[in-house]
Amino acid sequence: MISRRDFLRTGGAAASLLGLSRAVEIRPDPSFVRTRPPQSADVNIGVIGYGPRGREITSTLSRVPGAHVAAICDSYAPMLRRAQRDVPDAARYEDYHQVLDDAEIQAVVVATPTHMHRQIVVDALEASKNVYCEAPMASSVDDARAMAVAAQAVSDSQIFQVGHTYRSNPQHRSVFQFIRSGAIGSPAMGRAQWHARQSWRRTSPNADRVRALNWRLDPELSIGLVGEMGIHQMDVAYWVLGALPTKVIGFGQIMAWNDGREVPDTVQAVFEFPSGMHMMFDATLASSFDDAYEAYYGTDSTILFRDRGKAWMFKEVDAPMLGWEVYARKDKFYKETGIALLANATQLDAQNQDPTEDDPNVETPLWYALNEFMDNHEFGPYLPAADYQRGLEAAVIAIVANDAILQGTSLAIDPALYTLG
């Protein structure tokens, strides 16, 4: 029996002639990634916040050249016990001030709940630490601006990078050039989605801890799905399109998790850009169908990002030939899997995978972002791709969009909010 992959490998040309697939995978130029000189000393990093995201960052840092996680801070004892198991040689602190007082620590990563970022970041910059702050940078415009002002004031001597990881991702940078050079023709519209089947709720045996953990479901603290998830996609959108949105219309509903929550589990927003182009975004916790992606529709082709940085182009039949697409790998869409009425279908699929099929050297967007942060220690300080200005802009987009969603209305985005003046 011939597998789907074998078929694609051997029959790719025929498949494209038959019109089964016109998707062309776009790969980055490896020269985007710099190499650190091997002799340079490791940077001692303090990770503040050791929840799932802090753990992912710590784990990724273990593979980033030049990074040494020297301290971990969390206010909840069980998280510090995890830290002890994961990074036994790192100092453990309950209070972030202890990290800032530790003279050995040169840089901090802030991975706490969003509403706690402001105080920690401002204090860390004041304590002369370099800062990598998770995105969204803040959940209020006041907080975002205060952080941006603090970062701007020390930008000559200190690094402040926001966790908009796609800005550091070679794949996104490559496709960015591609779109900007006109390969999709005239841009017509954009569309992004983030779909998952999960409650967004967290739990603990400790009642205070339950309250603290569920900040994403607290209407006073949360900027909702568009803020916590969509912000990464909207960040790419306004980067790729080269303009900030001027208006947003939003809707939000509780459709699946009617458990007393007030934060919508399903949202839609439409963003207007100065060119007149519109970008649609929707997110839901009710359905995981088709996961997350962004698509940019142009008159010559559509470009699709998905799977954390992979990208494909779908050409119109009358679009000009680019030349190289004849030799590029073609993938059949959609790859979303429904219920397969086959025994062991998932097992067979996995075993048919060729481990070398994708570019084996590709790293996650988080790795590239943290690598850029470490490079900045070596070669900088310079303004990172996701600097305080980009962090502020993305936060403003997300915060106003969340307001529009909660009010079910259209809101203009005051351009003054985007600038520090």
């Binding site: 994961d86 990074v87 709720r201 996995a350 481990p355 590709v362």
Partner: protein, 319 residues
């Protein structure tokens, strides 16, 4: 008392989770976090994903040390310790032999002599250096590769179970592909979760009766079995379990089941028990105290310790 059931497709199989407790939204939240941990583990440990830490090790560790995450390093150390305590019957470097015998993508075949010799030369944990201070992995030979398939699922289940405990869940059952099970606490008014170990073949009337029912409480059960992935040569059936030391598939091995507080250890020990002969098993088991286990082979009696076996029935048709 509420019961919440959840599932996840990962590691080329289906994980299922049953949670019991007083608050359904909390149970679900705990389950989501536990299943997310399994998905994270797959991203790190997958032999097939080019971006996994295991793939990175396999590509680069022969050229120099590869740094890995604490989590992956812990598992590699655990695997190395089990290799040592089982006299090499369990070994995560067995992949070249599996490939050579045609068990990676097929039902298996007799390999060419040269190919077998070549594969044997690149199998063995003695060729893998684990450097604790900087948590790096290096291969002493080209061609080595690590496949955590025999222990990774159990490890993911252990990590998921520890998250459930941290979340305050004290009654749950979690399994991956029905071959690795972890029971947290017990259902109300029960001593534990009752899990059946199937017969490898059915009775004449086609009815599959379990050959044992194991009660688990804060314990894992792992079952290793040939399940049809086997071929015949000169009338002997060779299953997909290979003895890493001889390079040969284990003839006649049918099923091994192990109960252990850790699902990772249970997984690895079940594989090791499939490989070991009777005498070797007796010697090795001294390293494991009062291990509860069960082993069946195509011929000979069922060997069990700490697990009740029902009367075995005549075997006629495949299950």
């Amino acid at each position: 008392m509420h019961t919440v059931k959840m599932a996840l497709e990962a590691m080329a199989t289906r994980f299922e989770l049953v949670l019991m407790g007083s608050d359904a939204p909390s149970l679900r939240a705990a389950g989501e976090e536990a299943l997310a941990e399994i998905a994270h583990m797959e991203a790190r440990l997958s032999f097939y994903r080019p971006t996994s830490e295991v793939s990175r090790i396999n590509r680069a560790a022969a050229s120099g040390p590869v740094r890995v995450s604490a989590c992956t390093f812990r598992l590699l150390q655990r695997a190395a310790a089990i290799t040592e305590s089982t006299g090499g019957a369990f070994d995560i470097t067995v992949a070249p032999l599996m490939k050579c015998w045609g068990f990676v993508r097929g039902r298996g075949h007799w390999p060419a002599r040269d190919a077998l010799q070549q594969a044997r030369s690149v199998v063995g944990m003695q060729h893998v250096v684990l450097n604790e201070p900087n948590r790096s992995v290096a291969f002493l030979r080209d061609g080595l590769s690590i496949d955590l398939g025999g222990i990774g699922k159990g490890y993911a289940i252990d990590e998921a179970a520890s998250i459930l405990k941290e979340c305050g869940v004290n009654r749950a059952l979690l399994h991956g592909g029905t071959s690795s099970v972890f029971a947290l606490g017990a259902p109300p008014d029960e001593k534990g979760w009752r899990v059946a170990v199937p017969l490898t073949r059915s009775q004449a009337d086609g009815v599959c009766l379990p050959q044992a029912v194991v009660t688990l409480n804060d314990e894992a059960l792992s079952v290793s079995a040939v399940w049809g992935k086997a071929f015949q040569n000169d009338g002997i059936v060779y299953g997909h379990v290979i003895d890493p030391r001889s390079g040969m598939p284990v003839a006649g091995a049918e099923l091994a089941a192990v109960v252990h507080p850790s699902a990772a250890d249970a997984d690895a020990l079940a594989t090791a028990l499939m490989v070991m002969g009777t005498d070797e098993r007796s010697r090795a088991l001294q390293n494991f105290g009062t291990l509860r286990f069960l082993v069946t082979r195509a011929t000979g009696p069922v060997v069990a310790h700490g697990i009740d076996i029902r009367a075995r029935v005549p075997i006629e048709a495949p299950c």
